[in-house]
């Protein structure tokens, strides 16, 4: 392995470690869970009004603030170079193509064909594999799995509002558990005046 390769590998590892630690605080899980729960309740009440949309999306507005107040003081901040390795681009491109294919298939193609079930599960399997390959990157996981959850669920007609609320609830519980663990294992780092 030459020097450039080892630098790229180290940078990728560092970035991955920083990125995974940054999202190990459970905040994204709590917000995603909340959004799913609100969508489920709205469907249950047959009410997809603007208000439910606002209630569902409102916490996302606090995402940056929560990260700034909770995560950054504990994990610090680093500005990485924008260089991307070919594999990252490839995973992103393949993910995008499959997601697009799934959306087009789910929304625009009549699902009366007998191939619906295998194709839907194949897409979900590919999405899961990609998430695993990318080191369980939470953002990527949710970006792929949430749309697929609805597409596959509604496509196969097994998704009920109760199931959506339950999934959201589970995500929120997992998020709260992760946040508690994060706060316990990462005490706040206050810079002292005499240091450096």
């Amino acid at each position: 392995m030459n020097t450039t390769d080892s630098h790229i590998k180290l940078e990728t590892e560092l970035k991955k470690k920083a990125f995974l630690s940054f999202h190990n605080d459970g905040i994204i899980d709590i917000l995603m869970g909340w959004n799913l729960a609100v969508i489920g309740v709205s469907l249950y009440l047959h009410n997809l009004s603007l208000l439910s949309g606002i209630i569902g999306l409102a916490p996302l507005l606090f995402y940056g603030l929560l990260k700034y107040k909770i995560t950054l003081p504990r994990l610090g901040h680093a500005q990485f170079r924008t260089r991307r390795s070919f594999s990252v681009w490839l995973v992103g491109a393949v993910g995008g193509v499959f997601l697009l294919a799934a959306i087009i298939y789910g929304f625009f193609i009549n699902s009366s064909s007998g191939f619906v079930r295998p194709i839907a599960f194949a897409l979900l399997g590919i999405a899961l594999t990609m998430v695993l390959i990318s080191g369980f990157n939470r953002i990527l996981a949710y970006a792929i799995l949430i749309p697929l959850f609805f597409i596959v669920g509604f496509g196969l007609r097994f998704l009920s509002p109760e199931m959506i609320v339950a999934t959201g609830g589970i995500l929120m519980v997992v998020g709260i558990w992760m946040l508690t663990k994060f706060l316990r294992t990462h005490p706040i780092q206050v810079e002292e005046e005499n240091l450096v």
């Binding site: 560092l14 003081p73 610090g76 901040h77 680093a78 810079e191 240091l195 450096v196």
Partner: protein, 114 residues
């Protein structure tokens, strides 16, 4: 003195020429992390290098003295934030150190094999 002994001495002399500021494992660790980012704050360095705050602070001061890093202190919402960045001089010195070490290790390994 045989030819082999003379070559060995040359390599041993090269070891003396190695940049001692970078050669410290602690400082090398800091510089390697900084070489991979544009800039990082003190907390990020504490967590990625695994050093104590005091140790990191002392070594950063040394690196700043020789011009390998720049340290910028600021206040964000009354909280102190220290950003550290590797300078061009620091990057050049790190690359030069890397090349020197590779050369020495390669030469010593070749001698051991012969």
């Amino acid at each position: 003195m045989s030819k082999k002994d003379s070559t060995q001495n040359e390599h041993l002399e090269k070891i003396d020429e190695i940049d001692q500021i970078i050669h410290s494992p602690t400082r090398l660790k800091i510089l390697i992390v900084l070489a991979e980012v544009v800039k990082a704050d003190f907390t990020f360095l504490v967590l990625t290098t695994g050093l104590t705050r005091g140790n990191l602070s002392a070594n950063l001061r040394k690196l700043e003295e020789v011009g390998y890093v720049t340290i910028e202190k600021s206040f964000v919402n009354r909280v102190s934030r220290t950003m550290i960045q590797l300078t061009d001089h620091g990057m050049k010195s790190l690359k030069s150190y890397q090349a020197d070490m590779q050369m020495i290790i390669h030469a010593l390994l070749s001698e051991l094999e012969s």
